[in-house]
Every structure is written in C-alpha cells, then in structure tokens.
C-alpha cells in the first residue's frame, strides 16, 4: 500500500515509517502540515496517517481541505489528546479513524489494514458468511456448519462485527469501540471474556477453532486476506 505519513516529530515518524515499510508498505513522510497538505492532495494514496498537532496547517485542517476538495482517501488521525470531545471533532472533520498516542504499533497496523479494506458502502447484505459460519441479519440466527448457535445479544453484535471484517486483525480497542462504544479500556477483561465465550459457543467437535488469537495484538475471524 502507498501510505502518506504526516508527522512532525522525527523519532515518531521514523519509527512508524520503518515499521510500516517492514511489512511491505510504501511510506512517504511529510514533516510539516504544508508539505502534508500538498502531498495529500497531489498524489494518490491508499491511506493517509496524520498527526493532529502540526506546524503549519494542523491535521484537522488538512483533513477538512481534503474532504472539501472531494478526496475520500481514508485518513487516520493520530493524537496525544485522546479524549472524547477531540475525537468527535476529528470524526466530524472527516477522519475515518482515530488513534491516541501512545499506541502499540500492532494497533496502528491493524487500523491501517482495516481502513484500506473498508468496504464501499453498499446495501446491507441480509446474510453474512465467513467460512462455515453464517448469520442471518433479519432473523438474528447464527449457524455453524448448518447447526444453530444460541447467542446473547452482545455476543451477536461481537460476531457481526467480526463477520463484517473477515481475515482482519481486530484489536481489543477496535472491538471495545465497535461493539460496546467504549473509547477507553475498562479494567475488567470485557473483550477477553466475550471472545472466549463466543469462541466456545462456536466450537464444534472436529472443526478448527473459528476465532484466532493474535498474541499481543488481537483477534481474527477467518483466514487472513
């Protein structure tokens, strides 16, 4: 993927760029808001990652300028101000995702991957299917290998979230946000408990485990794409 990284702090920029290059992305770094704006508007990118605070025009200004000129490239905003209002402000400005510093690199990687594969909004399918797991969104019925599985509403939401993102690494914070609207990490192991319950309910004798745990990163449903 071609990724534009707009980040003024050299250490952070180098660290992120190096990490992304190691997993095969092409990364261009812009160190000021001005350069970032020119590069963002002037070339085609798969994903743009921008810091919020920048010398020159800041991240949100760049974002608004891009959206105003009809450029819909997915944008991930990095910020040290990871609080709720700022987040809303960023999303209002047209950010596709938001990540508070300091973050784990695996989190950034998972979010970039999710952004790049963000499906173009089409009419919602009635049936979600990944491998031998299927969910009927109208009847709220889940089957594995044709056998019905009883799920609680929360587990249903969790599974739906995962079925919509097959083969993607989903981090704990992505699940907390996507399933429970929680933009912070509760001290209780909410995600672990629910994933393991869901995994247990979906397990069938002789069939492979449906949800894989990516150690220290997150979870994945289905084969990696």
């Amino acid at each position: 993927m071609r990724i534009l990284l707009i980040e003024d702090d050299k250490t952070t920029a180098d660290y992120i760029a190096k990490g992304l290059q190691e997993i095969g992305h092409v990364v261009q770094v812009a160190r000021t808001g001005r350069d970032g704006m020119l590069l963002a508007a002037g070339e085609a990118w798969d994903v743009i990652v921008t810091d919020r605070m920048l010398p020159g025009p800041d991240g949100l200004t760049i974002l608004r300028a891009l959206r105003a000129s009809g450029i819909a490239t997915p944008v991930l905003v990095l910020t040290a101000l990871g609080e709720v209002e700022r987040r809303v402000e960023g999303l209002d400005a047209g950010a596709d995702d938001y990540l508070a510093k300091p973050f784990a690199f695996s989190e950034l990687r998972a979010r970039i991957a999710a952004l790049a594969r963000r499906p173009t909004p089409t009419t919602d399918p009635v049936l979600l299917q990944v491998g031998d797991i299927e969910m009927d969104l109208l009847k709220r019925v889940v089957r594995r290998n044709g056998q019905p599985v009883e799920l609680l509403p929360t587990e249903m939401r969790l599974l739906e979230f995962m079925l919509r993102r097959p083969g993607q690494v989903l981090t704990k914070t992505m699940l907390l946000e996507g399933v429970w609207d929680l933009n912070f990490d509760p001290s209780t192991n909410l995600v672990e408990v629910h994933v393991s319950r869901l995994r247990r309910k979906l397990s069938l004798e002789g069939l492979p485990a449906p949800i894989q745990t990516m150690r220290g990163v997150g979870y994945m449903l289905g084969a990696p794409t």
């Binding site: 508070a100 609207d181 990490d185 001290s187 408990v193 319950r197 220290g216």
Partner: protein
Amino acid sequence: MSAIGRLLRSFALRTALLTAFGVLGISALGLGLGWLRSSAALEEALDSTIRAEAELLLGDFQRFGAIGLTRAVEARTRDRTPSAILVQLRLPDGRPVAGSARLSGAPMGLRGFVTLKAPEGPVRTLGIGISNGFTLLVAAEFGAVLDTAATLARTLLAAGAIAVLIALGFGLFMARGLQLRLRRVSEAAEQVIRGDLARRLPLAGSADEFDRLAGTVNTLLDRQEALIEGMRQVTVDVAHDLRGPLSRLRQRLEAALARARDPNADGAAFEAALAELDTVLATFTALLRLAQLEAGPPLPPQEAPVLDLSALVARLAEAYAVVAEEAGKRLEVQVAPNQHVHGDAALLRQMLTNLLDNALTHGGQRLRVTLHPGPVLDVADDGPGIPAEERARVLRRFYRLDRSRGTPGSGLGLALVAAVAKLHGTAPTLSDAAPGLRVRVDLSGAKAEN
C-alpha cells in the same frame, strides 16, 4: 523609579492635585465675581453720597438763590477735607464761578455721572443743570473706593492661596496614606507570588472599600491555596502511584538484560514489561481525562443531546453480566424502560463501566445494577463496603482503602465517576447496601422528556 517619581505617578497625588486645582478655580471665580460686585457696590454708594450732597446744594439754591448757592459752594471748597466732596459752579459758557479747581477738567454742559481722570486721581463727578444755564458739579475722590476694592481683592487672593495650599497639603497627606496602604497590599501580594501561599492581605479593620476588596482577594487566595495544595497532593500521589509499576518495570528489564539471551524468556519478559507499562499509561489516560472533565464547564442542561439511558445501561449491564458469570459472580440487572436524559453518552458509559469495574473488583459475589425511574442509577454489591467515614474520601483521586492496595486499579475510578456526575449536574452518593456498597447517581436533574 525615585520616590518623587513614584509619588508623581500615583493616583492619590493626581487626586490631590486635581482637588487643589479645583479649589484654585473656585477661588479665582469667587475672587473675580467678588471684586466686580464689590466695586460696583462701592461705586453706587459713592454715587448716592454725591447725589445727597447735590440735593443739599440744590436746596440752598432754591431757598437762597444763586448767591446762596455760590456761598455754599465756596464754603464747602474752603473746608474741604481730603477725600471729601468737591463742588464747582459753572457759568453757562463753562467758566467756573466758584469751587474746586480740580473739577475744571469736566466737559462742558455735563449732565449725569462721569468719572474724570484728574492728575491727583480719578474723580467721580455728577453734573446738574440748574436755571439760567448754570451747571453744578458735585464730585468725590474715586481713589479711596478703588483702594478699598484692591484691598478686598488682595484679601480674597490670600484666602484663595491658603485654600489651595491646604487642599494640596491635605491631598498629599491622603495620597501618602493611600500609597502606604496600597504598598502594604502589594507587598503582601508579592510575598504570595514568591511562594508564601499562606500570606494574606492586611486589613485596616475599618470595613471600608479597601478592607472589603482585601477581604475578597483573601477569599480568592484561600481558594487558590486550597487548589494548589490539592494539586500538590495529586502530584505527590501520581509520583507515588507510578513509582511502583515503573520500578518493577525497571527491575524486570534489568533482570532480562542480565540473563543470557533466550527468545522464550525474553519474550515473556517483554510481555510482562508491556503489561506493566500499559497500567502506567492507563493511569495517565485516566488522569488526563479526569483533568479535562474537571476543567470543563457543566454540560448545558437542556442543550446536551438526548440519549436513551435505559438502552445504554441495559447494553453495558448485559456485557458485564457475562463477565461476572465468568468470574463466578452474579450481576442482577433491573432497568426501568424509556429513561431519557440530556447528556454525553460516552461519558455516561465510562461512568457506568467504572462503577461496574469497581463492583467486580472490590465487591462480593452478588452485584446489582438498577436503573430506577427518575432516572436514578444504582450499582450495589455485597462486598465489604466502605466505612461511612471513608465514603467522602474514596471519591478523591488516588484515594484507596488500605485493603484494596493490593488489587489492580488506579484509584481514579470513583473520582472519574464523580467528575462525570458533576458534568451532568449531580454527584454520586455512597451508602451501605447492608452488606456491601451502593453507589447512587441521581440523574433526574438531566431528565429529558422523550
């Protein structure tokens, strides 16, 4: 700046000078008017003296004829004393028949009053025509009158000058007093700036405007001191709370570094280090969030978006019921339907999550979350509870009961609950759930009609 320079720039001195100039102006005005009025009055008095004399002489003329008048004029001119009345009788052609030579400068055929400039000084002269074309001149020295007016003017001038001096002196005295008083205040303020937070502005005990202002500033300083003290306490607490995990982190990394390289052991050490670091970061995030919440003004009660609190509570409670079950506990959920409030959904979710986390960590086996109509949110457990005298303190940052020191948690959970509640115009109340702890957040103030 020199003392004089400082004095000149002082508000008090400017006031004093302004007062002095005011007095000066009024004095000058009074002086001028007084002088004008008094000289007019003196002139009038002189004129009536002249007129009276003239009438006496005219009486002589009527009784004794021209000869009698001439005699009378001559007699008066002979006996004249200084500054007394001068008289002269003239023929129709203007030649004097009898009387004082000093009036020879009077114009021919004079009728009425005129002031003559004579070498010996001005003379106020009245000319009267009598029969046969004769003219009678009656006059008086004007100089005496002018002298009197001048004396009066000098007296007034002296009085004005004294008044100005007194005003200036009084002003300077007041300025000095004001300056001393303000200097004491500003010295005290400088002490506070230098760090003596306990210092207060001096009061004169007179309960005047200055004392009232100083009292207000002292109240401000009290509040400031309390805030700074609180801040200092928090800083100490943060340092204290973070030293533990950070030194453990250091030890772990040091031990791992000292050991022979072994991918498995290193991996485990790194993971443990990351976990330790994450708790530190979580504490920082919670602190930041708390600071931001506490700095912000309360949500405008009727303008915040309306949200379905019943759905919000039910959804989180359901997730936590599963977590409780996995931990071998039970969470009972009772939610009154259709409870809507004006509020911030993300913050209310955080508040409930903190309450449920707390109950799961410190509570007993049976937990209860209840949303009463109102809406009033209750989260209760059957754990050891919190002693009544500790309840107010657990809402503070980093305050942890002795028995919970060993359990995970930042000591910020309830402080965050209090901050979110405050933002929604309320405060959490802690009570005894017999056994256990009940935390109640009454959100009826933020209730929205749906």
